[in-house]
Amino acid sequence: MDSAIIGTWLAALLTLGIMSFLYKDNLYYKICEAIFIGISAGLWFITYFWDSLYRIAWIGVVHEGRYVLLGGVVLGVMMLMRLFGKIGWIARWPLAFIVGATAGLKMMVYFTTNAMAQIHGTVNDTMAAFGGSGLYDVVGRIVILIGTVTGLVYFYFSKEHKGLFGGVAKVGTWFLMITFGASFGYTVMSRMSLLLGRIDFLLTDWLKLVK
């Protein structure tokens, strides 16, 4: 038999197995899940092995002489010390390195690209609101201004949401609700096309029920 036909059957059986979970957990789903976990864990390990260990660490250090990468290898080996009970504590060093690096890097990234850029965007938008454009735009931008400020009030931790402040925070939650509703409504329909693709595969490529 043609390998493509075997492949199609295999793919179809796995597809049905995953879908059977919708009815309830069962033997068929458990087998598919087990295959999924085993195959995918292996796949990722292989990808890491060739892409990071071989291409970055081995080629980088041995062939390109980028000895600075040896630091990473040393930290990586320290990580493995976890396997040896007595000196397992040394694995905390690479962990500390990673947490420190993430905290330091992400702090700046979030500060510049999230906070600064969004404040800049809001100020720019609302500034332009009075620049003589149509009523539609002016209303839109005033809404952006009110929404951003009241939304921030909602996130304010060190003041009780009571009285006027509470009212403003309430308006803030309304804006958050609009945001959530919009994202939800936005995604609902596009998720249908994902499933359409799978059903099309089953009906057309596998069962050949549809031309």
Partner: protein, 224 residues
Amino acid sequence: MKRQIPMLILSAVGTLLVVSVFIPSARHWQEDASLYFDIIAVFAFFLGGGNLIRVHTEKVNRKSTGWIYSVVTLLGFGIMLVTGLFKIGNPNGIAGDLSQTGSYFQLLFQYVMSPLNSTMYALLAFYVASASYRAFRAKNTEATILLVAAFVILLGRTALGVLLTNWIPAQLSVLQIPNLAIWIMNAPNLAGQRAIMIGISLGVISMSLRLLLGIERSYLGGDN
């Protein structure tokens, strides 16, 4: 000592990377740090993969419930390792690209991984429907606002939305559902997104400072 050194590493690395943002000639530290991360992550995988093997072999040895599935998982893991490490069936041999057409690795990817992956992803369609049925109800003010916003956007993206409000004259075309949907996306939705994003970045800053100052250190474990 066992806690001081990691603390020191953490603060030093974090501070250096914050500073490197401002110094042009130190920017490459950031790339180095992320390369280090990649390398450490592979070594860590030996722990993760080892854990996977250990958990499942134990299940098989103890013949605990569902041990047969553990056999399947172990087999799958092993097959993938062998085909990938030795690049079995790869037309270009060991030097070939990992996902070269025709290699067993690529075949397994195409006929086993892909369908499993996209079907699991496609289950979302079902869950989105059941969640909408339950969650989109005008129980209170907040839920009503969420429902109305979602419904307008949802209708704005189907033919029904066009049909429902086509009668609205051109001067008031803003009120037609598809246009209303665009307005919601561009104005109130954007405002909410911005508030969330500014809040998040301030949250990240205060958490990162807690980490760098050593106030928050539960993840570094105890003294033993």
